[in-house]
Amino acid sequence: MISDMTVEELMESVKKGKMKSDEIVDYFKKRSEELDKKLSAYISKCEIKENEGGLNGIPFAVKDNMQLEGTKTTCASKILENYGSTYTATAVKRLLNEGAVALAKTNMDEFAMGSSTEFSAFFPTKNPWDLGRVPGGSSGGSAAAVAAGMVPFALGSDTGGSIRQPASFCGIVGYKPSYGLVSRYGLAAFASSMDQIGPLAKSVRDAALITEIMAGKDPKDATTVDKKIDLLKGVENSIEGMRMAIPKEFLKDLSPDVKMVFQEAIEKFEKMGTKIEEVSIPSLKYAVSVYYIIAPAEASSNLSRYDGIRYGLRIEEDTIDGIYNQTRNKGFGREVKRRIMLGTFTLSATYYDAYFDKAQKVRTLIKREMDEVLSSHDAILGPTTPNVAFKFGELSSPLDYYLQDIYTIPANLAGLPAMSLPMGFVNNMPIGLQIMTKRFEDAKMMRIARSYEKARGKFPMPKLNGGDER
C-alpha cells in the first residue's frame, strides 16, 4: 500500500522506476480528498511544486500557521480567515526547493493554542484511530493527515508539545528540533522563545531526512544557529552502553495502563544494553506554571499585530479604539483571548516581577537541572502524554487541557530536542514514548529513537478506507 510507505520508501520506488512522482502526488491527492471528509484535517488544499530535487514529488502538508505563497495562512482563526500568504516560510521553502509538493494547509488550534484542535475557529479534526476522539494539538490536522496516510509527512510547530502530543495521540513520529535549529521565519509566532517547526512523519528516518533539509542558519531568523547537524549519519548505530534517565516526576501520576506500556518500552531499552536510571528533577513540578506565564506573555505581544489595520479581519467602528476592540473581540476565540489577557496581566508593570520575572528565573532553574541530568545521562525518557487521546468534550476546564502538556513542556522551556514515537496501545489507542537529549544533540536523540523503533517493530496504521484501491 502506498499510503503506509515512508518518504524514503517512496523515493526509493521512484528511483527504481516502480512509480512516477506524478502518480504519487495524484494518489495522495485522491486519498486526501476521500479521507478529509471523515477527518477534517485540512483547512485548505493546494498543489505547490517549485523545483526538482531529492524530494521530487513527495507530497506534504503544512500547518496553517506557516506562510506559503499561493495559500491562505489562517492560523485557524477568524481574524486571518482571508489572509493570503505574502511570502513563504524558510522551512517550507527549503522543502519546496528539494522538489517536495505542498498539498494542504492543516487544521490546528487557533494560533497553536490548545491540544486537541477543538479550539480551531473553523472545525475540529478527528483522530483517525477513533473518530470520536481528538487527534491532539495544536498540530492535530498535520498528525491526523500523516497517521491516515493522506500525506507521507507534514509540518507542525511545537511550543509546548504541539507536535509531540498529537503524534502520540495519532501513533506517529513527531519531532521538535533543538531551539534554533530550524528557522521560524514565516511561522506565525505564538511564544517566540519556544516555538519550533518540526516534522510529523511515519518513521524516525523520515523525520531526520526532512529536518536535515529544513535545518540550518537562516539570515532571516536571528535565533537560528550556524550548526550543521547530520541527523541520518550514524542513525543506525548501536546505543549499547548509553545511560537513560527517567525522572520520577514523570511517573508519579501516570495511570497503570500507560505505566505498563512504558515499562515494556523500558525493557526494550534494557535489552538494547542501555542503563536505565530513575532520577529526580525537582523543578519540573513548576514547568506547567512557568510555561503558562511565559507563553501567554509572549503571545499577548506577538498577537498585537492582528489589529484590523493592515490585513485580516476588520470590524469598522467610529473610533480607532473601537476598531481594535471589535476586531479583536470578534476575531479571536475564547482560548486565545484568555491567553492574551493572562499575558497582558503578567507583563503589567505591577505584576511583572511577581510573575514574568520570577517565571524566567524558574525557567533558568529548570534548564539547569535538566542539563545537569543530561550531563551524566545520554537521554531522558518518559511517556509523551499522561494518557491516550481523549474524547471530544471530555475535558472541560482550561487547566485539564493545560495539564496535557506536562511532559512535553520542559523540552520547550530548556530548548532541548525531543521526539515522540509510538510505543504501544492503551484501550486500542496509540501512545508515544518521548526522548529528550541535550540541546543540539539531535543526532544522538535520532539514534536512540531509531534503535527503539527497530526494537519495537513496525507500528500499524489506523484502519481507514479511502483511495487505497491499488
Partner: protein, 475 residues
C-alpha cells in the same frame, strides 16, 4: 523660582537600510514603497539587527563620552497605534548599549547623559483633520517604520531654556560631524521631548513633559512658555498636575495631551526574537579611535593653533562641511585669519540671506581665494570684492570674468588718480579751508568724493595719500 530641565532626544540614524530588515532607509520615497513583511508586521516575519545600526550607535555614544556596554539587549515596548504594525516597538529598555555620557556647554556646565539606546521608528500618519480622534479617515505610510533611532536621555541638569537649546545644537553638531544623522529637526530626523519642573525653597511643581518640539528655536520657546505657565499656576496656588503636553508652534503655546493616569503601561519584556547584542572591546576601541575631531576640539584648535577669533572658530567648527571648506581654503594658501573672516562674514552671509544651508560647491575655493588675494593686493576694492563674491555665489562665474565684465579693477596708479583728486579739491574750497584750520578728519570726505567719481574703483589708500599730499603741498 528655579526650573529643572531634562531632555529625551530621538535621532534617526542615516544608515543605508532599516534597523531590522533590509528595506531602504528613505523616508521621502513614494508612500509604502520601502516596506517588506518584517516592517509591516506580517505573520511570521522576524527582525534581524542591521549591524550598521550598532556601528552608528556606538559612534554616537563614543562622541557623547558614554560608557559603551559590551553586552546589551533588546526589549519590546507594547502599545497599539496604527503606525506601529507589530503592536510593539523594539527598543532597549533593561540593558541599553550606552550610559553615563555628557556634553559640556560653552559656559563650562556639564550636562550628563543618562543613557543611549537603540530602537526603531514608527510609521507616519496623515489624518483628515488635526488629530486621530477628530479624523474621519487616516492614512499610514510605513516607509519610516523600522528606521533606526537612538534615544538619548539626559539627566535633569539644565536650568534654563537657552541651555536646552544649546545642548540640542551642540548635539546636532556632534551627530553631523560624526556622520550618523542629518540632525535635521524640521524634518524629524532629530526630535526632542523636554521634561520640566519648577521649584523654589518651599515648593516644587510636578514634572511636565513637553512633546512635538520641532525646531531648535522652539526648544527654547516651548520651555520658556511652559516654565512661565507652571510658575504662574504655582504663584496662584494652583495645582500643577503631572502630565504630557504638546507644543503647538502656531499658537506658541503648550496644550495638555494626557494626564499621568492615562499613561500607557508598555509591558516591557525581553525581545525573544533577538539574541543579546555583544560588542567586543576591540570593536569599541576601533570605533572610538576612528572618530573625527569633534566641534569643540576643532574650535579650540582653530583658536589656539590658527589664531582664528573665538566666535568665528565656533561657527566654523559646527558643520563638518563648513570646517572642511575652511581648512581647504587655508590649505590653498589663504591665511587662517582672512579665510575665517571672509567665510563667516561674507560667504555665510550670502547663504543666510537666502535661508539656505552652506554648500561649499556654490563658492569654489579657488574663486574665494582669488577674491581674497585681489582684495589684499588692492586689485579690487573691498566693496567690489563683495560684489564679485555675490556673483560667484549666484552664477558660479570666474572672478576674473566678473571683474572684467563689470570693470571693477581698482585704480591705484597715482598718475591716473591725481587729476580726479585735484578736481575734487578744487570743487570744495570750503572744506579745504577746514582742513587748513586743522580739521584733518575731512580727508575722508575728499577720499569719498574721489571714490564716487571713480565709481568705487580707486584704491582708497592711494587716494588718501594723494589728498594729503596735495592739501599739505598747497599750504
Amino acid at each position: 523660582m528655579k526650573s529643572v530641565i531634562g531632555l529625551e532626544i530621538h535621532t534617526q540614524l542615516s544608515t543605508k537600510t532599516k534597523a531590522f530588515c533590509s528595506c531602504k532607509n528613505e523616508v521621502d520615497a513614494e508612500p509604502n514603497t520601502n516596506i517588506c513583511p518584517v516592517c509591516t508586521g506580517q505573520p511570521g516575519a522576524l527582525p534581524v539587527l542591521n549591524d550598521e545600526v550598532v556601528e552608528y550607535a556606538i559612534r554616537a555614544a563614543a562622541a557623547l563620552n558614554c560608557e559603551i556596554h559590551e553586552v546589551s539587549s533588546f526589549d519590546r515596548k507594547n502599545y497599539f497605534y496604527p503606525d506601529l504594525p507589530k503592536g510593539y516597538q523594539i527598543t532597549q529598555y533593561f540593558h541599553p548599549i550606552a550610559t553615563n555620557g555628557y556634553i559640556v556647554l560653552d559656559n563650562g556646565k556639564k550636562i550628563r547623559i543618562r543613557r543611549i539606546h537603540i530602537e526603531e521608528d514608527a510609521g507616519k500618519m496623515f489624518h483628515s483633520s488635526e488629530t486621530i480622534t477628530q479624523a474621519t479617515s487616516s492614512l499610514v505610510d510605513l516607509n519610516r517604520c523600522g528606521i533606526p533611532l537612538i534615544e538619548i536621555v539626559t539627566e535633569p541638569d539644565m536650568e534654563k531654556p537657552e541651555e536646552a537649546r544649546e545642548f540640542m545644537e551642540k548635539l546636532r553638531d556632534i551627530l553631523r560631524t560624526i556622520g550618523v544623522s542629518t540632525g535635521n529637526m524640521e524634518e524629524g530626523a532629530l526630535r526632542c521631548d523636554a521634561n520640566v519642573s519648577v521649584h523654589d525653597d518651599k515648593r516644587s511643581s510636578s514634572r511636565v513633559e513637553v512633546k512635538n518640539i520641532n525646531s531648535f528655536k522652539f526648544v527654547q520657546k516651548a520651555l520658556e512658555y511652559e516654565i512661565k505657565r507652571i510658575t504662574k499656576a504655582m504663584e496662584a496656588g494652583e495645582n500643577v498636575p503631572q502630565e504630557t503636553r504638546g507644543w503647538d508652534s502656531s499658537t506658541k503655546s503648550t496644550v495638555s495631551m494626557r494626564s499621568k493616569e492615562a499613561e500607557n503601561d508598555y509591558r516591557y519584556f525581553p525581545e525573544p526574537d533577538l539574541p543579546v547584542l555583544v560588542v567586543s572591546k576591540e570593536r569599541i576601541e576601533r570605533i572610538k579611535k576612528s572618530l573625527p575631531e569633534l566641534p569643540d576640539e576643532k574650535s579650540k584648535r582653530y583658536v589656539e593653533k590658527l589664531g582664528v577669533k573665538e566666535e568665528n572658530a565656533k561657527i566654523l567648527s559646527k558643520e563638518p562641511e563648513l570646517s572642511e571648506y575652511f581648512e581647504e581654503v587655508v590649505k590653498a594658501g589663504v591665511s587662517a585669519k582672512d579665510a575665517s573672516n571672509w567665510i563667516v562674514n561674507e560667504v555665510l552671509g550670502l547663504f543666510n540671506a537666502d535661508g539656505l544651508e552652506f554648500k561649499g560647491e556654490k563658492v569654489p575655493i579657488k574663486h574665494l581665494k582669488k577674491i581674497i588675494e585681489y582684495t589684499n593686493t588692492s586689485k579690487i576694492s573691498r566693496l567690489a570684492a563683495k560684489e564679485v563674491l555675490a556673483e560667484v555665489y549666484k552664477s558660479g562665474k570666474d572672478p576674473d570674468e566678473i571683474v572684467k565684465e563689470r570693470n571693477l579693477l581698482q585704480v591705484s596708479n597715482e598718475d591716473e588718480l591725481i587729476a580726479v583728486v585735484k578736481e575734487v579739491i578744487e570743487e570744495n574750497p570750503d572744506t579745504v579751508q577746514k582742513y587748513k584750520n586743522g580739521k584733518t578728519s575731512v580727508v575722508g570726505f575728499f577720499v569719498g568724493g574721489v571714490m564716487k567719481k571713480t565709481k568705487g574703483k580707486a584704491d582708497p589708500k592711494v587716494v588718501g595719500k594723494l589728498v594729503k599730499q596735495l592739501l599739505d603741498g598747497e599750504s
